[in-house]
Symmetry: C2
Subunit: 246 residues, 2 copies
């Protein structure tokens, strides 16, 4: 499984992804799920992927191949808007579907993928999309400032409680890491390292870009403080008043 | 959807279930998912159910019908152990499967159910089981003191962090309610009222038994304090040290 999330905030974008891939518990590996296409002073495009690894790698390879083309419908470096770039990605997803879906089905496997796609192209504000297996997509709106793919549920309560579009990028990054921390703790199929990318609006270059491993002091520290803080908070909440009813 | 959980602790058992049932968002209703069979001084048996409502109601009706029989393989009041009672429930699940599964399949529906079954029969310690669609079951062990069915993921991180077999029943009840609070907050298909039951070991009668509605002052209070506490805790955790890298 996988857990990736991204936030679309007033000050920019935050992306985070785990790197655990499994096909049954006997086949657990580490694969990066974050891919970046950057052209300084012009655009930063980021894709996070969940689903069948063969499919997501195929789509990424087509994007890379298309990046050498002169055709603005194939080359995400030539797309004029994020919407156009999302359409290019959707078209590649459909190309892989045409190529693989029937064969997967013969082997009882689903054509399963989902992508988070975000970034900024000069002339536009930063934008964030979710692209589905069918190659269609939605854009993240004002009222729901984050998108998640993969094993999304364990890490959603903290996002629901904390994330707002006007929050600063570093607190938002902290929140993303706590969401991943909760997920990794409760689900074996999501694991370190975490790829983290923070994009500051109108910079047109990657801002913070870190790979967070087991020994990362900040990730260790907030994980420990968060766990202790939750247990302390739990302790100080009043017990139910029904204890003496028996 | 549904969310039910139960804990098997040294001092007894805690059961909690929501009561939202939906078949698509156009058909959202309130149905209780907790059923109790009690014979004071002899046994308390509790079932929490998730899955197709027609199936879970059918199983419960068979249990009620069987409770009039003289056959200890059909009557959970005559079962000598919780294991025997779980076998009776499993047999009823299989009876409903034989009756309905083929017809459901013709309509594209799965035979989907899961039950949490717990309680105490005189002569034994309290025990807790999970019964599957196939009528087979597992028993909750020393190392994993809780079981969940339905929409389990949102509310699992708090359980993973807090629940231990030696905790008192009222703190455990508080934890169960916080787990439901997080789930209800993040998932529309899980909703109030909550049925709550606390069984004290060797009492052989239902201890606390409450229906918690919107206006329950304790549930409101811990929900509010938990939300505020989480946001405060989030604020005081240090921000990532990478903010000045850009």
């Amino acid at each position: 499984m996988t857990y990736c999330l991204a936030m679309s905030l007033e000050q920019g974008l935050v992306f985070a992804s785990d790197s655990r891939t499994n096909a049954g518990v006997d086949h657990v590996s580490t694969f990066r799920k974050m891919r970046i296409w950057e052209k300084p002073d012009d655009r930063v495009l980021v894709v996070l992927s969940a689903g069948n690894l063969a499919i997501t790698q195929y789509v990424a390879a087509l994007v890379d191949q298309g990046a050498k083309s002169d055709d603005p419908k194939k080359n995400i470096y030539l797309a004029e808007t994020m919407f156009d770039a999302a359409r290019i990605l959707g078209a590649y997803v459909r190309e892989v579907h045409g190529h693989d879906a029937k064969h997967l089905k013969e082997h009882g496997a689903e054509f399963a993928l989902s992508l988070i796609f975000g970034g900024q192209i000069k002339g536009e504000a930063p934008r964030l999309f979710m692209i589905y297996s069918a190659g269609n997509f939605i854009e993240c709106g004002e009222d729901s400032p984050f998108l998640q793919i993969g094993e999304t549920k364990y890490g959603k309560p903290i996002l629901d409680r904390v994330v707002t579009r006007d929050m600063d990028l570093m607190p938002a990054t902290k929140c993303a890491l706590l969401s991943l921390n909760s997920t990794i703790r409760s689900n074996l199929t999501v694991g370190l390292p975490i790829d983290l990318l923070v994009y500051h609006k109108d910079e047109f270059k990657v801002g913070v870009h870190h790979t967070i491993r087991e020994d990362d002091p900040y990730f260790q520290k907030i994980g420990q403080l968060w766990g202790e803080g939750l247990r302390n908070l739990f302790q100080v909440l009043p017990d139910p008043p029904w204890g003496d009813e028996v």
